[in-house]
Symmetry: C2
């Protein structure tokens, strides 16, 4: 309370940094920063606790800019509060190799919590951050030790409000009663097509009430700092519901084009830049100006944050005396290392063990390791019984008032909300104390593609448990049978796509997924039973590809994944008996991990001199990289019992053998016949 000229100066400083940076870059979005500078001044100074010198402090308040195109607002704030983001960085806005890219990227810029810009994602991330906070608090807070009590604040605009992912996450957050989540809706009535009246006339506040949120409205979002402060204060007091504050603002406040689409995604014109500086009492000839009193005020708040962290560190030290095990556990989690020896819990299998569906093998992994890896949070988008994602004694993560679990629970009921789930998992992984694993059918990971992409781009350790991975799901038919899905995600950088062939490979997939701190994984799992392979071991499988059946006299290498590996092994017998052809089999559960092995190893797996043929019951796209010929399914599947469906498409020992014979024949005359591992040049990485 008691706002004055000083506050106005701070606010206008933020606005003009956004104006200058976008003008200099001749690119970017000045409108949202100019409109949301006032609320930011209030929120960051009056409510948010953070230490710019240690942006990783676990109990800091989290800030998410879901309308990420307004990132100059965030960069300006980070700079003013003293994060490692210099004025030079701001001047390099949107330039190659700067830490101030066109949309905020958490991996590159200290103080950016999550990577946003693709609309709606940040909102879902914020829900995930709040989930992780509530869970971490439930696990670690003890009487006299309110260790984890940060808030998550999120800005979102009309674009985010329209996106389905935000609707899904908002519905989930309401159900979960996440009291520490406060989302501020920049109600500026402008999106790229102009006035939102052309497409978006719903009552957003009423919708959020329907989700179970606490909703307020600040009408004068450009000027009424008292009302903003009051609303945030009230929101913090509501402990049993997430809060939404509708803040009616003027986009591009101060510009000649304020309140119009003209100021959304384009820098101001030169005369407008001058005019707005004059209007705000700044020298129109100067650029990138920060009055010392603004730095002073903001650095003062930063120092308070540093002091708060110091207090917290003392509290945490005391906590260590009283709760040494928990103290150790939290410290370890923050390093992202797993508990020592956890991997000894991973199940291993002998060839004599029974055939089991890999979705069940995945369940066995979760059952076996969940105690050893307490940060693992499983869940499913309403397919628990099909994804087999829940260990027997799991407690649901639920608001205690519902009587269905509590916040210490490690099983998420995401509902039929795949995209929301993925966005939430990205937020959860970001928090730093949990590893989220979430299930759906492989085909419906595609619903979440927007968020899965950000798992990769933002280097999130997120695990997608993707069951029903092929036509092998049978009767549900083509609407549910993935064809393009593995190719899609194999083309996505920094993503491990696993398709294990048996129990040892399933354990290997989890081993790599859990120990790769910077890379998400999709683990594709069958509905149908798979035999335990002769040649598989965890040690081999974690190389991504290995020889499952060697034959030094082989005329062909069959390269396969998942449920087709065992059929290839049968095909080897068939080829020998019927065609007098010797074949060897490579199991390739994860091409990305295989690619990371040294060339000598890779060539030992797919050697020169004989042709290789891939066998995978979906799109062949991409297999040309590893094999000379490809047997796959470049059409949609069929509804029927799975064995019938496999037969229809000739994924049988005979069908494979037929094509292997043609492959051997076709390459007979080629000299030298090089392994596809040999390339003329290496790709950029």
């Amino acid at each position: 309370m008691g706002y004055d000229k000083h506050d106005e100066l701070c606010i206008n400083t933020i606005r003009l940094l956004a104006v200058d940076a976008t003008f200099k870059a001749n690119s970017g979005h000045p409108g949202a920063p100019m409109g949301m500078a006032p609320i930011s001044h209030v929120l960051w100074n009056k409510f948010m606790t953070f230490n710019p010198k240690n942006p990783e402090w676990v109990n800091r308040d989290r800030f998410v800019l879901s309308n990420g195109h307004g990132c100059m607002l965030q960069y300006a704030l980070l700079h003013l509060f003293g994060f490692e983001l210099s004025m030079e960085d701001i001047k390099n806005f949107r330039q190659v190799d700067s830490i101030t890219p066109g949309h905020p990227e958490s991996h590159d810029t200290p103080g950016i919590e999550v990577t946003t810009g693709p609309l709606g994602q940040g909102f879902a991330n914020a829900v995930g951050l709040a989930v992780a906070q509530a869970h971490t608090a439930a696990i670690f807070n003890k009487p006299d030790f309110d260790l984890i009590n940060n808030y998550t604040y999120c800005y979102f605009g009309d674009g985010c409000a329209m996106e389905g992912i935000a609707s899904e996450a908002a519905s989930a957050a309401g159900h979960l009663q996440l009291g520490n989540l406060i989302c501020i809706y920049d109600d500026n009535h402008i999106s790229i097509d102009g006035d939102t009246a052309v497409s978006f006339t719903e009552d957003v506040s009423k919708r959020f009430e329907a989700y179970g949120w606490h909703v307020q409205h600040v009408e004068k979002g450009d000027t009424d700092l008292e009302a903003m402060e009051e609303a945030i204060k009230k929101a913090r007091e509501v402990k049993d519901k997430p809060s939404m504050i509708k803040l009616t603002t003027t986009i591009g406040f101060g510009s000649k084009l304020q309140g119009t689409g003209g100021v959304h995604g384009n820098p101001l014109k030169a005369d407008d830049v001058k005019s707005v500086k004059e209007k705000f009492g700044f020298d129109p000839e100067q650029t990138f100006v920060v009055p010392q009193e603004v730095y002073d005020a903001y650095h003062k708040h930063a120092a308070e944050g540093a002091a708060a962290e110091e207090e917290w560190n003392k509290l945490f030290e005391k906590y260590g005396e009283k709760h040494p095990e928990l103290h150790k556990d939290l410290k370890r989690r923050l390093t992202r290392d797993l508990p020592e020896g956890w991997q000894t819990k991973l199940p291993t299998y002998k060839p004599t063990d029974p055939a089991i569906a890999s979705r069940k093998l995945s369940e066995s992994v979760l059952e076996a390791i969940h105690e050893a890896v307490p940060e693992l949070i499983s869940g499913s988008a309403d397919l628990t019984g099909s994804n087999n994602t829940r260990w027997k004694k799991a407690v649901d993560f639920q608001p205690p008032s519902l009587g269905l679990g509590d916040y210490s629970g490690r099983y998420m009921r995401y509902g039929v909300r795949e995209h929301g789930m993925a966005g939430m998992m990205n937020g959860m992984a970001t928090y730093g104390t949990v590893i989220p694993a979430g299930g759906t059918f492989l085909n419906f990971v595609s619903y979440a593609a927007g968020a899965v992409r950000l798992s990769s781009l933002a280097h999130q350790r997120v695990i997608y448990i993707a069951t029903h991975d092929s036509i092998g799901l049978g009767e549900d038919g083509p609407t549910h049978q993935p064809i393009e899905t593995l190719a899609h995600f194999r083309a996505l950088p920094n993503m491990m796509v696993w398709r294990p062939a048996d129990g040892n490979e399933t354990s290997a997939a989890y081993y790599m997924a859990l120990t790769s701190k910077q890379t998400p994984s999709i683990i594709a799992l069958t509905r149908q039973n798979l035999p335990q392979l002769e040649g598989s071991t965890l040690q081999d499988a974690i190389k991504g590809g290995y020889v499952a059946l060697e034959d030094k006299e082989a005329a062909v290498t069959l390269v396969s994944t998942g449920s087709e590996v065992s059929i290839c092994l049968e095909a080897v017998k068939y080829l020998k008996d019927n065609n007098d052809i010797k074949a060897r089999v490579v199991s390739m559960p994860c091409v990305e991990v295989f690619d990371a092995q040294d060339k000598e190893y890779r060539l030992s797996v797919i050697p020169d001199g004989i042709p290789a043929m891939s066998v995978e019951v979906m799109s062949t796209l991409g297999w040309e990289k590893y094999t000379h010929e490809q047997f796959g399914l470049n059409r949609f599947g069929a509804s029927g019992p799975y064995k019938e469906v496999y037969k229809k498409f000739e994924f049988t020992p005979e069908g494979i053998a037929k094509r292997a014979v043609k492959t051997v024949d076709f390459y007979k005359d080629v000299k030298p016949l090089r392994s596809p591992i040999n390339r003329a040049f290496t790709q950029l990485i």
Copy 2:
């Protein structure tokens, strides 16, 4: 009104067909059909007008089962009313090559309007059907000729209600005030995880009210047929809002497990089958029983539908006398043929024409053809100015009351709702009188992946205008720069992915997209300017791939798409000048269309004897199919001015030449060096 035992018999007949079919298949979902048989009996008999002998009649009422897993309900109805779906077909439920697959597929089964099962899709399709209906009515209805006045009815369950795509479409439908859309929410409180209380506690009715829908609640959805009839009647009377009827039902009504998750996705046990038949007064020893009086009653309604169509045909004939042009136009549209000569409007370009961004070239196509192709409906997911999707004189498709357009308008303001847009476009295309084209950034077509997949599976002529197609978008950075996207959709069966290199290729893309009645297209377009190529013609480009620069003495073929083709042409000069290597260039705007050419042609484009290298500034995945070596970007991009970004990743004449030299060198010793067009065997199609 006046329901009696007869109605109960009809309803129980439907229920038991679902019970028997799922039991026989040992697979499927009996619960929803058993719960929704009553409303179906009322809706289909009392309100829906359709002719089973002509399921294509344009003014039929449309029915969409968004909870498509309940398809035995729909199959039972189609059978009972006399569509071409026999009892034998019902007995073949979920068997290979049946017309009764595990989820309804419009392409295979007469009477199935849209392909559903992936949750939320049908709901969005229904919104699209209602859009197309309103538009077609606005264009063709005249005084005394209320030609097009059908309703669209849609069932959706809790799963659909949770999906973001349905939220997006519901918000759009509310904005658009689609009075002829009536959606019935199967409020049975059960999803796969059991009671929806575990994840879905929002107030769905209030949410729909917030969207601007008319909302009612029928509490006794199992029994109160009068209330159902009354609610549907009221919904039909509301002309300025879409209607949602919340129908509280008991899933698996009649089963021992009714009201539980146990009856959702599994057939009833044998004793339960018997018990429910006894309860309903049927012989427990008999299966697939339809009492004659049920057939009689349903066939009577079918005959009324046939009579209604006959009436309509007479009306349409009279309409032809009074409005011959419109009559001709509607008749033509229903054949899905385009107007004769429309293609002469497609712009063509000479090499001397200026460099233009392909998103602008796309705009020129729309400007040039929109009058000649009146069924084309353009639109954008709130990126109109960036996607360049709107011709100058376009009128918005809007409810007249808003004063922003009217239902005759041919420009859709979809809002920031990519998935909803795609689902709506699938519905619009299905209606039969319009061709939808919708824009977003290529990167955000991924948000719509679930619906894009169904465009392909359901053979919809839908056009995705996907601008900002690469790192060439520049400053927006990695969050917006597609890497995996083209590989993803090239792996999707029955999808044309176009990436035109200049004006003639852009026209070719539209030519093929508009004339391919059974195949959707994604047209990937640049933000940056592209020169008009020497070697390009529309006639060449519609082959999907062609020689843009021939050289019979070439040592290497460069195969490229879109913005990289002109850089390859520069690289040819560079190679000649600096390396004394001759090269030829292939432009490959659409691999799927190229694949459809005869082998001789394809080999003439990518010949034997010299190596081929692909150049495309995104994931190389899949290019191995056409080339020996690949130059691409298997990592995320960078934020900066696009020329800087291209330089950073070496997509320059020098960068290409460097790799071409290595390619030539690497393959020198291989004999014979076959074109990748040659394969050992052909793929299954």
